[in-house]
């Protein structure tokens, strides 16, 4: 019934992270490298991000995706689209479904690169009716750019972070008037220049800060949203479309169904600096590990996982224990988030030209001004690093991985705090 096959490396997800990993692995002679992509086309999220800002200046998402696919194919990786990994049949065996039937693919190493999604209205527990006209950015971008569908006439965008401005541009492209951007935060989560530039288009888009969408209104089709400001005042904003942007969460279903240990902060698989999960032979990279970073960062992780995967294929052992890396408030999460003996956390140096080297990605729950990041273990200070800018929630915050070799693999949890 199920065709059985074997490969050396099976990569799940042909987004920037998975494709970059496959390219690097295939090019370096890791054997049979296969990428599974459930979508009809490879490339991941950038395929429907029709704005610039991917890789080199002016490169659009689809162009970027296409170049990644070409690179993977050129390097000799097999990229199979329309094939979903639906579950596990063994420690390193995945069951798949595709138009050509069912398969069970067993690999010597598995790389999970399943990406992230935005939390929809329901998961955010926004009350009200259940009308049509409610989107996430992902759905909106596909509707506008891939399928060229009618969206609506007047929209409210929930969020004011980079992806919210991407939603704004998709709406404009579709000829939808944008009534407002609404954010709970005190300001936009992007640079003032970007925020201002994006809001001056055909018509100026107001930014409503310190407010939440308290209710969706309308039957059949959305007729408006009820906004509530921090002081309790409410008002109804008429619109037939609302886009919930940001609030990303890793798509961890496959990892979790496979018993892969997750990190409570990121909600993605817990990984060490070599992107090894707690399950031998299973690696995880990209937004599936930490929700959303720019595509370039996800692709870099794909590049950086290649070395550890090759080591694994060559018979390197798998760390049996690991020290968790945890954050203290106002920090929300950190990735990688395990310190494994023998593997300096985050200290792998990027192999590609211009790579930034090993580092940790963090998120803060509140805006912090020029934070001093302090890394300690059992009271011992391992590293101090000042970040010379204002860091907003939902913005990337990076910590160097240079200190990781000094951590005691037999010690207590390593903590990152704002000093």
């Amino acid at each position: 019934m199920r065709r059985q096959r074997h490969v050396d490396v099976l990569v799940v997800g042909a987004g920037p992270a998975g494709l970059a990993a496959a390219t690097r692995l295939a090019a370096s002679g890791a054997g049979a490298v296969e990428v599974l992509e459930r979508d009809a086309r490879a490339g991941g999220v950038p395929r429907h991000c029709h704005h610039g800002g991917f890789g080199r200046w002016g490169v659009t998402g689809p162009q970027y995706a296409e170049s990644l696919v070409e690179a993977a194919l050129g390097a000799g990786a097999a990229v199979r689209t329309g094939v979903s990994a639906t579950g596990w049949a063994g420690a390193l065996s995945l069951d798949t479904t595709g138009p050509h039937g069912l398969e069970r693919i067993t690999a010597r190493a598995v790389v999970l690169a399943t990406g992230a999604r935005e939390r929809p209205r329901t998961a955010r527990l926004v009350p009200g009716t259940r009308p049509a006209g409610v989107f996430t950015t992902g759905e909106l971008q596909q509707a506008v750019h891939v399928y060229r569908q009618e969206i609506g006439t007047r929209a409210v965008v929930v969020g004011a972070e980079p992806v919210s401005y991407a939603a704004l541009s998709a709406l404009r492209h579709a000829g939808v008037e944008v009534a407002a951007l609404v954010t709970e935060e005190a300001r936009a989560q992007v640079s003032p220049v970007r925020a201002a530039a994006a809001r001056f288009g055909v018509a100026r888009v107001p930014l409503v800060t310190g407010a939440v969408v308290a209710e969706l209104l309308g039957r059949g089709r959305l007729s408006g949203v009820r906004l509530r400001r921090r002081d309790g005042r409410e008002r109804v904003l008429a619109c037939d479309t609302v886009v919930f942007t940001g609030d990303f969460v890793p798509d961890h279903e496959l990892a979790r169904r496979g018993g892969v240990l997750l990190d409570p902060g990121t909600r993605g698989p817990a990984v060490d600096g070599s992107f090894r999960t707690a399950s031998p032979g299973i690696f995880a990279v990209g937004n599936g590990v930490h929700a959303v970073e720019p595509a370039r960062v996800a692709a870099e992780e794909g590049v950086r996982v290649a070395g550890p995967v090759r080591d694994r294929l060559a018979g390197a052992g798998w760390p049996s224990g690991a020290v968790p890396l945890v954050v203290e408030s106002p920090l929300r999460w950190v990735a990688p988030n395990r310190v494994a003996p023998g593997a300096p956390v985050g200290a792998e140096v990027a192999e590609g030209p211009g790579g930034p080297g090993g580092r940790f990605v963090l998120r803060t729950a509140e805006a912090v001004f020029c934070p001093l990041l302090v890394v300690t273990q059992d009271g011992r200070c391992l590293h101090r690093q000042r970040v010379m800018r204002r860091v907003l929630p939902n913005q990337g915050l990076y910590l160097s991985g240079s200190w990781a070799g000094d951590a005691d693999a037999g010690g207590g949890p390593v903590r990152v705090a704002v000093g």
Binding site: T97, G98, P120, P127, R130, Y147
Partner: protein, 480 residues
Amino acid sequence: MSVTAKGPLPSEPYDVTVVGAGVVGSAIARELAGHHRLRIALVEASGDVGDGTSKANTAILHTGFDAVPGSLEARLVREGSRLLGAYAAESGIPVEPVGALLVAWDEEQLAALPGLLKKAERNGYDEAHIIGADEVRAREPHLGEGALGALSVPGESIICPWTTTLAYATQAVRGGVDLHLNCAVEKVGASSPDGSACHALTTPRGVVRTRYLINAAGLHADALDRRLLGRGEFTVTPRRGQLIVFDKLARDLVSHILLPVPTALGKGVLVAPTVYGNVLLGPTAEELDDKRATGTTEDGLAGLRAKGRRILPALLDEEVTAVYAGLRAATEHDDYQIHACPEERCITVGGIRSTGLTASMAIAEYVVGLLAEAAGPDLDLTVPGSLDPVSMPNLGEAYPRPYQRADLIATDPAYGSIVCHCERVTRGEIRDALISTVPPGSLDGLRRRTRARGGRCQGFYCGAAVRELFDGWGESGAGR
């Protein structure tokens, strides 16, 4: 046999018209189609069947163990449970016999269990039994602290409410019933085209003439009665139930339907698995006066979360897939309000409160019995007819779905092409639904037939693709 959603209505009078294509009205239409060679119409205000209360409940196939002994509801729930259980097995409606535990969290609730056991026995259900704290914990290891015992009701099951209504409607239509959608009955008058007395039902699409009328208008049954008879025997006061659906990854946290011990305030909040592999938390019980108030509220959802945390603490860490609310057709009476009015040639099927899904087939049998009595020789309801069996697409996790079936994919690759990834719905299933006997009237209708767009991402990945299929097939395929 036909399904219409727009355009003029047939001018020839029907023998019987059922108003309201919820689970109850559809069951009645099916029952009529099955038994008799009559001209039957099923008339629905919405653009789809099962779009009212029937789409938004807790999806439990009750045993009726806790009904009011001796009531019509108790009887019809008991019979309906058996009938629907058998029908589900035959037509492929997903049912999982998971059983229920009524968990006692304090001494008072514990003391109430023997009384509930007795009540179950008086309702003709004798498989219930009381279990101790240790066994409760053994059966439900993720339960919150402090459960003192439980009444175990092994016969309670979970069922797919959407497929149930759809199966009835499909079978009715295939059995010759005309289903007219987007046909809200606004006025009821009299007409006698060829001398025989008819009701004239005015709808936005024109007038439906019918000799007999069955009012199964759910929340609006009281209003329709007033329009029809100039009076009514009951008033519907909607009682809202809000619910939270948790992600499939939460499914392992719970094995049974976890019911609270009922109090004076009502049945209370339950935690239950769904046949789609999710976990439900709810419902609330709020008396309202607006029959359209199917929205959720901040307080409602917060209250549910607080209760859920007590019952199954780990549930609250899981992602939420959906939130929704349904309105029970509560009345001032403690029982179903099913009345025949022979001189007016009509039957009212109202006040089908919170058990209508379970009781639907028994209600249908009962109502057709009343109709036979009321009509006498005027309607030949004596000769049983026969209906071709239906085989419904499987939406349940407990049975193989198309994406898991090599045999099916080998015959048609569209069943191997997953469109909605969270729910693993294939292109083949979406196509089948769009060209089916009772095609969906909206994307939500498509969701209820396939689960497409109903998963944790709510369309982030597949929303646009599903809409593309819907629009494409909607024009050419459904042809209406």
